[in-house]
Every structure is written in C-alpha cells, then in structure tokens.
Symmetry: C2
Amino acid sequence: MALSKNPDKKQINRLVELNKKHHAARDPKKIFEGLRKGEKTALAEAITLCESARADDQQSARQLLQHCLPHTGKSLRIGITGVPGVGKSTFIESFGQYLVKQGKKIAVLAVDPSSEKTGGSILGDKTRMVNLSVNPGAFIRPTSSRGSLGGVAQRTRESILLCEAAGYDVILIETVGVGQSETAVHSMTDFFLLLMLAGAGDELQGIKRGIMEMADALVITKADGDNTKNATRAKSLYKNALHLFPANENNWIPQVDVVSAAENKGIEKVWETICSYENLTKTNGHFQKKRKNQQEYWMHEALKEQLLHEFYNNPAITKQIKQLTKKLAGNEITSYDAARLLIELYQHGKKNI
Amino acid sequence: MALSKNPDKKQINRLVELNKKHHAARDPKKIFEGLRKGEKTALAEAITLCESARADDQQSARQLLQHCLPHTGKSLRIGITGVPGVGKSTFIESFGQYLVKQGKKIAVLAVDPSSEKTGGSILGDKTRMVNLSVNPGAFIRPTSSRGSLGGVAQRTRESILLCEAAGYDVILIETVGVGQSETAVHSMTDFFLLLMLAGAGDELQGIKRGIMEMADALVITKADGDNTKNATRAKSLYKNALHLFPANENNWIPQVDVVSAAENKGIEKVWETICSYENLTKTNGHFQKKRKNQQEYWMHEALKEQLLHEFYNNPAITKQIKQLTKKLAGNEITSYDAARLLIELYQHGKKNI
C-alpha cells in the first residue's frame, strides 16, 4: 500500500494495522524451519527479526535463537579489516567465490557502527560484489547500523549464530580498521585478517595503533602491474616486523600474504594460511579455548554495558559529571573523589525512588 | 613495644591502644606542612595514610589530598617497564642519579599488583638502588601491593600527587611488563619507556603483546662489552619496525636509545629524548590534552570499578554466573541472554531488599 503525499489519519491507521499483521506473521518456529532448509529469505528474515527493537519481535527473536543454538558453532569465523580503499570488497568478492568453488557455503556480514553517520561505507552497496551477491552458495548481509557499538556487536554475534544454524561453513565479518569496531570483530572471530596497501612507506596510514598486533595474518592487496615489486618488498618488511612481536599464546606466527584480486593471484594461499591456523589451534586446543573465552567475554561486556548505561543515563549523574570534569581540569578534585561523589549521588538517588 | 612469641590478651589490647594513639596523631594539616617543607618522612607518612584502609585514615587522606591538589601537576611523570632481568633497577639507579646531578628532585614509585603473590619483585629491596636510595635529592617508595589493580593504580596516582606537592620534578613509575599493570602505568604517565634486552632474536620474549605500541621510547639495556654489537643491531631493527607503526596523534615518533648502566653510557641521550618529547607535546598541546584525558579516564575507571564491584560481589550473582558459564559452553544460551538473566536477577534482588 503506497502512501499518498499528504496521508490522512485513516490512511495512517490502516498502515499501522497492516504493519501489525505483517509482524504477527513472524513465527519463530516457521522462520527456523525455513532457515534450516537453507532458504536465504528465511535467514534474512531471521536477522531482521533479531535486529528489530520491537518488544514482541525481541521475544520471538529470543525463541528463534534458542531453536538455533544446538546447531551453532561449526563454522569458521573470519574477521577482515583494513582502511577504506584497501580493497576489502574486491578481496571478499574473489575470496568468497574461491571458497564457494571449494564447496563451502559462505556468509558475509559487516560491523560498521559509523555507517549511521557516513551513510554506510561498507556492504551498503551490494553492487560492489556483483558476482558473489548472485552466487547461490553465498549470503551477503549489509551492516546493521542502528545503535551503539555494543548493540551492533551483539546483533552481529546473533547473525553469526543464525548463519551457522542455516548451514554456512565460513562466515566473513568485514569492518573498517579506523575505530573501535575492529576490536569487537576481533573478539567474535576465530581468525583476524588485516588487509594492507603496499605504498611508499606509508602502508599503515590511517590504521589504528594496536591493530597490527591483533592480526593473525596480513594480506598485501593490489599486488599487480607496477605495484607487484612494492608488494613483495612490503611483504618482507612486515614479515621481519612481525617477528619482533612477542609470540602468541597459541603458538601461531602471524603470516604475510600477497594478493591481486584483479589478476586473481594469491587467494588460494590466504586460504591455506587460514587452514594452517585452524589446524594448529584445533590441535593444541586454543581454537576451542578462544571460543569459550569469547562467549564469556561477551556476557561480561553485555553486563557492563547494561550496568553502565543505567548509570550514565541518569540525568542527575550527567549534570554532575559535567561539573566534576571542570573541577578535575582545575585540579580542584582528584579523579577518585569525583567518582566517589558520583557513586554517592547515584546510590542516594536510588534510595529516594 | 615488641611482641613476645606468645602474646597474651593484655599485651594485644595494649598494642591496639598504642596503635590507636599512633593513628590519632596523623593530622593531615601537619603532614601537609612537613611535606611542603620537603621532609621525606612527612611524604612517606602521607603515602602510608593514603594507602591505609581504615575509615578514619581515609577521611584524613581525602583532606590531605585536598590540601595538596593546588600544588600538583608540575612534574614530569615517566613510566618505565620491561621484563624481569632487563635491568630496570640498574637503569633507574643511573638515570636517577643523572637527574639529581641536573638539579632535579626525583621520586621513584612502583606498580606491581602481582607482588602479593611473588613476594614483591620490584623496589621491594632498596639495596638494589644503593646509591640512589641514600641520595638526598631522591625519594624511593616500594610498591603498595594490597588489593586489585584498580586499587593499586588509584593509590599510585595519589602518591604521584603527594610527590608533586612535595616538590619533586620528575616521577619515575616502575612496572613489570608482563601483566595488566603496564596499561595502568601508561595511563598515568606523560612518557612511557620500554626497556629491552638485545638478545639473539628473542628480544621481546615475555613482553606482552601491545606494549611495544604503547612505548614513546625503547631503550636497549646492557649495551656493554660483548653485547655492544648486538645492542646496536637491535637498535636499527627496532627503529625500522617502529616506523611501520601508524603515526601517533601527537606527532611523536618513538625513539630507540641504547644504554649501558654499567659503563654509564647513553643515559644523557635518554633524557634528551624525553625532553624533546616534552617540548614537542607541550608546544602542540598534546601534553596538556593527555593529562586532561587521563584525569577523566581515571574518574570513569573508578566509577566502573565501583559499580561492577557491587554487582560481581552479590552472592546470588556469583552463583548464577557459574551456572550460566556452563550453559554458555554447552551452547544452551547466548551471551546476551545470559547477561539479561543476570541483570534481571540483580534488579529483582535489589527491589526485594
């Protein structure tokens, strides 16, 4: 039902009714059955349901996830990051198609809490993955941009579970390496891939400090034409640099690979690197250990977020923080005393409710 | 009054009374006056007062800090980290004496929350800084080992303020680079120094991932005798590696220096590096900005610690977390649902109080 340019009240009410019926049709059991049969529309609907802020949808979403849980955990979860322009979409297009040819079902998700402001910089436009998006073995889901990083991370983690229950073998989670989101993606994946450009000494321009040490592998992109030599040089530079880093607890030494998506070179090697990692960490138990730690990490993160949200959204607290921040800057109070005053205010306020 | 091997009740009661009198004598105003006159005993007493867990001491401590606050902020705060055996004490002994010769008053503090278990690995033994500890221009305070990292960090930050009010120009804060404490020290200092050994390719053995990217300067220690060549080679290796890191927001490029405390070489150069940093960041405003951010950071950290402490110390919550952690591992519940259940339990419990 299309809305006329100047809708009257009657029209609006009819739309609201239609909307309710549409929502009422979302039966978690039915969605679950479709999803298990491998229907992409059911998977898409499942993700939408989990993303919905409506209370009734949230209840259905909890039920749906409960159905899915016994069928989760079997995929390989790969985080992919890199600055805008490094060629993430192009890499995923090639890498994804390669994996489908190996008989894998692959899903592509994205975490980009900034997209609300920027209008969606990643995966917003499926046309950037022309071939992959129409490939029957691939499922691509644009980023959910609503809310805080914590909220986006939670929904992405739920999407991973839904994709796993739908039988996807490899899940790629794309993020931009310029904010907080890459830490979140690192904490929800088994393997973390950092894409880099081979430039003139400024390879890391724009990449946030600390990301390089999170990476399980670096991939130098656009290693084609005139750039081939640069890319090879960058590979040996980074290989040496990574050796200076302290060893990982899981005994994995981060690898550096070189790819050209344009010339379709090096993709297979990246997959081999990831398989070596999977093999090593599943053998020494670190794969399972990391998964377990991640589950507990996200429980505690969600707890922290909810407890702090309640505190920081208290209007009296907000007002007081502003004043105390000024006092801090003027050396009129210690950080600890400021915190103590705020806690007292908070507890006092609660007692008065 | 010495306690006999088998003290009777009377003896113990007399000791308790004596202890009360001793405490009653701790007048914050008097301590403050002594401290401002540069009396080391007053400074030591001030730190002990702030470290005390007694409620009346804590009240006096708050008053004392309030007196001190207008006189704080003028020192240069330097964090020093490195694995055990790298030569932190030896470096501080040389570096400290050099600074005193330049007319500076220097204080040495330590953060080592692990020392409770290990019996105090750093600064526990003043004899390791034989000359510095008897130098009139230097004040050395062993680590306070009681409590959580948050608690230790808070007390160290208060000690910094006390040392500043007592007129110390440079404050060195030592920590071991193997735990969480170096992040805390990094967040309370203006400049962060990482000491490293030049070894056979395993220079970073034992150093936690991520520390190298926090460092404003690396110092290769023990560059003497047969090791001189190794140290020079390590310097150039690290210089190249650091160039691959993304640039700092404050425009500072981390430096690599080489020292021999035994041969008293390179100490002056380290001080020059720190002065260049201070000069650059005070000119471009990042010094002040960092201090301001650190004050706010510690206020929010203290808030978080106190809010979460209350939550996690609720016996019903502790019990439930154990059960939910098992369910998480068995894929029986999502991390988010587990968190939601805990929050509901917590809020319900509060209502019932």
